[in-house]
Amino acid sequence: MLPAGQRASGEWIDDTLRARAEEKGLLPRTPLAGQFPRQRVEVVRAADPTAEVNRLFRLRGWTDGLPIVPPTLGRIDAMIGGGALDRHAVLGEMEPLGGVASVEKIAASAVMAGCQPDHFPVVLASIQAILEPEFNLRGVQTTDENVAPLLIVNGPAARRLGINAGWGALGPGWTANAAIGRAVRLVMNNVGGGWPGAVSFAGLGQPGRYSLCLAEREDDTPWPPLHVELGYRPEQSTVTVMRAETVINVTGGLEELASVIGSAASLFGMLWSGKATVILSPFTARRLASEGRTRADVRRELYARGRLPAETWRRSWIHATVRASDWPDWVRAAAESGSIPAVREPDDLTLVVAGADLPIPQHVYCPSWGHPPSRVTREIVAPYPGAPRG
């Protein structure tokens, strides 16, 4: 099945993409852009059909550059069977080119990404999340910044699917983490049309644009898990999607973390009051909890201590180009006091516990990008037990 996006009015987004790629001199990357039969299904006959599908899809601009699993009808049916939605259900029109994100089209990219049918409910919930207006997918897809969706999975589904929350959770080696995040990226590419360089103007991009997906290490978290904090029940499964401008490793304790949050604060994040993400090591979380501190206490502490000196802000390039009145009140007020927190209020730090349980603890800070402030959580809905598959 063809993974390419089609607008509700029938146009294939690839015609626009070809024009953009041509203007940008990017046709050598996708010389076959827009050149495919305009139909749901195509038959590829070759001595090595998998290789031929890979060649065609790559040259048509439908991959992330890595080999894909050919989205055959059988595989797509199985993938759809892994979710709880009808194949014709439409989750929305995907920015910026407005391809219709039907369950079937999403399944095509999920197959290509290497997902198993069990992963599909997480992919669907993630796509629902990034289609929320609050997420501003048009901005995410077209900005010259390097933002990527960060998927944080909570609840029993994370454990059942083996979504890694521990050793190397943001690194290679974990099928669910790799495939689910990759599926979301391929849908953004194929249905939304966020082709690098042609539509997406991200200056450098980031490795997180291949996949950025992990689970919270709930069993080793001393506090109620993130989704419970956000109002879900423990037995529910959710995906929380953040906009991550980049992923910064911090080794040490809360002091080091606060220092990085202060110095690595995204000025765009401040300008738009963005919501940032902190991934805290289980070791540190346990220690803080044993001292009687709650998740909220930790957020407040990071908020209080992770500050950008007002002088640094005043000397920044963006300060010179943005009118003083464009900065939100909280930034201007904080600047008066000498330093600016990374976010508007402590709650705008999303705090997740994950990673290896090392005595030399490692954390991550993900500054935010863009407008409006965004943290979207969607429940992962699996088919009812015993539902027919495929």
């Binding site: 146009e11 294939w12 626009t16 139909q39 038959v43 014709h88 920015e95 077209t142 103007f201």
Partner: protein
């Protein structure tokens, strides 16, 4: 409305992309050279004065070049697939080009054999069909005719059907509406016998080649050319299967001196098709009696029972467009004719009998469905001149009112088992599938070609 969108030089591609994504391809933009973030106020002023202002004026004053509907599709003669019968069928089905039954592969040879049965070349445009705005051509009529399993000599009928489908009076764009009504094709003329249509026992049942395959063609054409697809453009809540072609029993009509449906609709050509969209229908079994007085109350009662919310087409949307159809078996038509009723007199009698209390009528289109905005009374509508005075002979809610505006809005056709006293009543979809009749144009060499085809 004329607009101008200011775009910095580096963002022109994004602007064009986003405009297309927002459904505004070709949105006029005015260039701002460089990027405003790195320009001094003087530089910016200079750039805007030198370049942007002119562009804004052009944007606001020149005609916008609207990009057309850019859906690339195979050219008519393209080979879209090569494979065996099963492969072709799987491929067509998976691409939404088939109704789920096996199709006959539309090979170039088969399509050419169909095209021979029209004097008009394949590229002749018969109209443009909503919702896909695709051109209806003699060529794609042939392709869908092949797929439906038609014989080449059905081409003149298929072309007339598509001409009717493309007639704005019919309203093909409503074919996906939620009540999911289905079209009935009624055929008149010598072609009924020349091509072997069934017009007797089982007239509305599949099983006779011409009636069945042409009925299937109608649905395939709605799918493949107009563009009505399940879960997308089709919103029929339930829908039902396509109907086979209804051929009138013209021998019976001639015997009793009644006009055909096509003649009733004002087309006197020898051969004609009439299409009309009906929301549903049902058989009227065992009509007992030998006089109009004994037979008509039952027939009228059955017509009334088929019509409920459809009364909105009598007084609401497209007021006066409700056209119920009564299908009589020949023996019933002959019995009524023997008593001296011609078609016009029959319709007048039915018009007087097909009546319900005003309060009940108002409930169907008002309290129960909210289909007529503001729920006006029939009395008020008639006083305002929206519907005929017959609806307001008094303001007594118990008074009887008709279900159509005029006697001639009722349609009567004759077909089915000649000697069984059954009838069939159809409720109509009004303006969302209005009766449309088209003459069937035969190729100049029709008789010779048909003779040769039969001798093969």
């Amino acid at each position: 409305m004329p607009t101008a969108s200011l775009v910095c030089e580096g963002f022109r591609g994004q602007a064009a992309t986003t405009a297309a994504g927002l459904g505004l391809p070709g949105l006029p933009t005015a260039l701002v050279p460089g990027h405003v973030d790195v320009q001094t106020v003087d530089e910016l002023r200079q750039n805007v004065a030198a370049v942007t202002v002119d562009a804004v004026i052009k944007n606001l004053t020149e005609t916008i070049a609207r990009a057309g509907h850019a859906v690339a599709e195979p050219a008519p003669a393209d080979i879209v697939f090569e494979g065996d019968f099963d492969e072709v069928n799987r491929f067509f089905y998976e691409n939404d080009w088939s109704d789920g039954l096996p199709i006959v592969p539309p090979t170039p040879e088969r399509v050419a054999s169909f095209l021979r049965w029209s004097d008009r070349p394949g590229e002749t445009e018969l109209g443009v069909l909503l919702p896909d705005q695709r051109r209806a051509t003699v060529w794609n009529v042939a392709v869908n005719g092949v797929m439906a399993g038609c014989r080449p000599e059905y081409m003149p009928i298929l072309i007339a059907l598509v001409e009717a489908m493309a007639d704005p009076r019919y309203g093909v764009e409503h074919s996906g509406n939620t009540p999911g009504a289905e079209t009935l094709i009624i055929l008149n003329g010598p072609l009924i016998k020349e091509l072997g249509f069934n017009f007797e026992q089982g007239a509305l049942r599949d099983g006779v080649h011409a009636n069945t395959t042409i009925g299937r063609f109608w649905r395939l054409y709605l799918r493949n050319v107009a563009g009505f697809l399940h879960h997308r453009t089709d919103k029929g809540t339930f829908g039902n299967t396509w109907r086979v072609v209804l051929a009138e029993n013209e021998d019976a009509l001639r015997r009793i001196g009644w006009s055909t449906i096509a003649q009733d609709e004002g087309v006197s050509d020898a051969n004609a098709v009439t299409i009309s969209r009906f929301t549903g229908g049902g058989v009227i079994a065992s009509v007992f009696g030998n006089t109009p007085d004994s037979m008509l109350p039952y027939l009228a009662d059955s017509i009334v029972r088929k019509v409920g919310w459809e009364l909105m087409f009598t007084v609401g949307m497209g007021a006066g467009s409700q056209r119920p159809l009564l299908l009589l078996s020949p023996i019933l038509a002959e019995t009524l004719a023997k008593a001296g009723l011609d078609k016009a007199a029959l319709k007048q009698r039915l018009f007087e009998l097909c009546r319900i209390p005003a309060w009940q009528f108002e409930r169907y289109v008002g309290a129960w469905t909210n289909l007529v905005p503001g729920r006006p009374t029939l009395h008020a509508l008639a006083k305002d001149g929206v519907i005929p005075p017959v609806f307001a002979e008094s303001d007594d809610p118990e008074r009887l009112v008709p279900i159509v505006c005029r006697a001639e809005d009722l349609m009567v056709a004759v077909s089915g088992d000649p000697l069984r006293t059954n009838a069939y009543a159809f409720a109509h979809n009004g303006i969302l599938g209005f009766p449309t009749t088209k003459p069937i144009r035969l190729p100049a060499e029709w008789s010779r070609m048909l003779r040769e085809a039969r001798s093969q």
